[in-house]
């Protein structure tokens, strides 16, 4: 095709981007040392140029993907003529080269946004230089190691097509949200390092990067949730989280990022935990790189890794450099980062935040240890010992329950110092309501110890949060004379940051309720059925009506017809199938789900013996829907808290007016 010349332009744009990044790093360092404003402005120009070159490269790649230019190796590897347009577009992040290009593009746009903003002028040039080192690394990979615009000669007539497992809307959203999250954490990391390097006093870098941190956290949450949903509907094993190394890779920075989001509030308000915050954001950023290393290197077996050992090696080197570089700076500047204040009381919001942090970091460490244990065991004993889900569940479940409990307690405690009598008074109502729920659950037969513990904690937190909102409304009514509805709306709108946080907490509780129900009370049956044969699972009756062959778009499918009855009444027809994609040796399972708020009936066509005999995996997964509903709460709460305008401002803090007055002079 005649647009092939664009491959040359794409490659040139990437090399040019790499060279400009190198210039931006060197010029940035010189500008910082010499305090040369013209050179700083030139670095800003370089940021625009880097964003321009990566944008050109990514647009060219999309043109190739959408037009089916199979002369480009990447297009031939990940698309085919019969692939729907939507998946041709998303094939950009189906492979190594494309996803690195996407990563570099997002990073360059983030760097551009930072360079154009007049924020914390004293440390911004250093932060921008750190971001440009990242740009340099990714553009180096794209220019010399993992080139996206390789031309095949002679060009193939047809492409290999996209991995069928990736042909799912969840898998379109999942990678891009994870990348947006990963790259987003580079911004607060860069500013934190800049503040440490420049020995910049104060916490302004936290305030200006807060939006970036929350945004990165939002995308990472979305990435994890869409990944869970994809695993549930697409992989066909009946669950949504398997503690797979790649799942853990995006979960670990989410944990430490969550800890950072809370601990920066303590620094903002109390001028405390400075060292801890620098450590947390450094470790979060390093974990995003480590996660990428896990995904790229293929060093651990996973359902969805891109194995390329040479690329993995580069990521490992970059990760180690980032880790030791940030730790060195942290240790070197310990004196400068000494705490402004000390904890005044065990019963205070700041001490409960610290405890919450320790739990989150503990969970991240346990997950890290379990994920990397096969590597360490191989190093020591020569044998790769894999750590399974029981390890992760045994260690993490108690930690998560304690974390959720704190989530309910923290909002009820005031900053600085809270009296025990006040805390107890605030706990009485939610405690009583949670006990009432537990009694009801015991009566209806929910008696497994972990389930009882989990539901008690989760309902306590849910009621504590709702009670806190209720008390807030009541206080507002008393202080302003507004009616209840108006006071409720104003309470949320005028302090979106705090109440957005409460919505997120409610979302997490709903997710935890869903996880508890679906993991402790699921029922599974693996059965072979002949036509018109019935089987009963819980109060469902499943009747197998037969198999048929269907041709849909680019897929040949074998579909099972199943009639479902609930308590003897006809409910619905389900159609689980096995799909055969061209160029794919093995068929994939398309799960059929009949969902409700109470439970999901989950049916997988596992195989067949002949036209009249098929093998099914049938599951009843209780409360699954609450995981997704909780996810929507979490997303809504984050967007609500983040949306610009009144009510989303930073939290109040202890301010040294004297130091500000001095600065003004």
């Amino acid at each position: 095709m005649d647009n092939l010349f664009l491959a040359n332009v794409g490659s040139f744009a990437l090399v040019l981007g790499f060279l400009i990044s190198a210039y931006a790093v060197v010029a940035g360092i010189i500008a910082i040392r010499s305090n040369n404003p013209a050179l700083s402005e030139s670095v800003k120009g370089a940021s625009i140029a880097i964003a321009l070159t990566t944008t050109i490269a990514i647009v060219i790649m999309e043109v190739f993907l959408l037009s089916g230019q199979f002369a480009i190796q990447y297009v031939a590897h990940y698309t085919s003529s019969d692939l729907p347009l939507f998946y041709r577009f998303s094939a950009l992040w189906a492979g190594n080269e494309g996803s690195l290009l996407l990563w570099a593009w997002i990073l360059s746009i983030y760097s551009l946004a930072i360079s154009l903003n007049n924020i914390v002028p004293r440390i911004k040039p250093i932060a921008l230089t750190i971001l440009n080192i990242n740009n340099l690394f990714f553009l180096f990979l794209l220019s010399f190691i993992s080139k996206p615009f390789v031309i095949l000669n002679p060009p193939p007539v047809e492409g290999n097509g996209l991995n069928p497992l990736l042909q799912n809307p969840g898998m379109v959203i999942h990678p891009i949200t994870v990348y947006l999250g990963y790259v987003g954490f580079a911004v607060p990391f860069a500013f934190a390092m800049a503040a440490v390097i420049a020995k910049y006093p104060g916490d302004e870098w936290i305030k200006v990067t807060r939006r970036w941190t929350v945004l990165a956290w939002l995308f990472l949450s979305l990435g994890n949730l869409t990944g869970m949903e994809w695993a549930y509907v697409e992989l066909g094993w009946g669950g949504y989280w398997a503690w797979d190394p790649v799942e853990n890779a995006s979960f670990m920075p989410w944990l430490t990022g969550s800890a950072f989001l809370h601990s920066v509030m303590v620094q903002e308000r109390k001028d405390m935990l400075k060292v801890w915050n620098i450590f947390l954001i450094s470790i979060t950023y390093v974990l995003t790189l480590f996660g990428t290393f896990l995904t790229r290197s293929g060093i651990l077996s996973s359902v969805h890794a891109f194995a390329d050992q040479s690329l993995g090696r580069y990521f490992l080197v970059f990760t180690v450099l980032a880790l030791f570089g940030s730790l060195y700076l942290l240790i070197d500047r310990l004196n400068f980062l000494r705490e402004g204040k000390e904890f005044e009381s065990v019963f205070s919001k700041e001490s409960s935040f610290l405890l919450n942090n320790l739990l989150l970091v503990g969970a991240a460490f346990a997950t890290f240890w379990g994920t990397t244990f096969p590597l360490f065991s191989e190093l020591v004993t020569g044998e790769k010992v894999t750590v399974g889900a029981p390890f992760f569940n045994t260690v993490n479940v108690p930690i998560f329950l304690a974390f959720i409990l704190l989530m309910g307690i923290c909002p009820l405690i005031a900053w600085r110092k809270a009296s025990v009598s006040h805390i107890l008074r605030n706990f009485t109502v939610p405690l009583f309501l949670a006990l009432a729920v537990i009694i009801y659950l015991l009566v209806i037969g929910i008696r497994k110890p972990w389930a009882v513990a989990s539901y008690f904690i989760n309902f306590f937190v849910l009621f504590a949060t709702l009670y806190e909102i209720f008390k807030g409304v009541k206080t507002r009514v008393k202080l302003t004379g507004e009616n209840f509805v108006k006071a409720l709306i104003n309470l949320f709108v005028k302090n979106r940051r705090r109440y957005g946080g409460y919505i997120i907490h409610i979302g997490l509780v709903l997710i935890a309720i869903g996880i508890t129900g679906s993991s402790l009370y699921d029922i599974e049956k693996n059965v072979t059925l002949t036509t018109n044969e019935k089987i009963t699972i819980k109060n469902y009756t499943i009747e197998f009506k037969g198999l048929r062959e269907v041709r849909m778009n680019n897929v040949d499918a074998v579909v099972a017809d199943i009639d479902v009855y609930q308590d003897g009444k006809y409910l619905t027809r389900l159609n689980p199938s096995k799909n055969f994609y061209p160029n794919e040796p093995n068929p994939t399972s398309e799960v059929a789900i009949k969902g409700s708020l109470k439970e999901d009936l989950y049916v997988v066509l596992a195989g067949w013996e002949n036209q009249d005999t098929a093998i099914f995996k049938i599951k009843v997964n209780p409360l699954i829907a609450w995981i997704w509903i909780g996810g929507y709460f979490l997303i809504f709460g984050t967007v609500f808290a983040l949306w610009p305008g009144k009510g989303a401002e930073m939290g109040p803090r202890v301010i040294s007016g004297l130091s500000l007055a001095k600065e003004a002079e």
């Binding site: 040139f12 744009a13 030139s42 007049n118 302004e204 206080t475 930073m650 007016g657 500000l660 007055a661």
Partner: protein, 125 residues
Amino acid sequence: MAIVIDILLLALCGFLVIYPFFIKSTDETKRTASLKEKLLRDKEAIFKTLSEIEFDYHMGKIAREDYEELKSRYVKEASLVIKAYNELLKDKKQSNLEDKTQVERDIEKEIEEELKRLRNKKRRG
């Protein structure tokens, strides 16, 4: 065709990197503006703290003595920041009130009223 686009791209990027060397710096203006913004942000933060302390007290989260102590501390902080802000405006000859936004005026007014109220209270006590 590819070479022409490559050259155009190179020229455009080169321009973006080089042109700042040929324009005059406005650094000082930016520094003042940024410090002004910072002081305004801090003023707003103190005001927000005061309203939050008030709210937490009425919600029963803070004891009366802690409430009084925190409130007087933040009012003192507010007066220092307002002083620094006014000094800055005076120094830079930017003290004309028309420059201030409604929000800025509201914040100042409320903090000053709070200061006045506390002073009167002290005098009475």
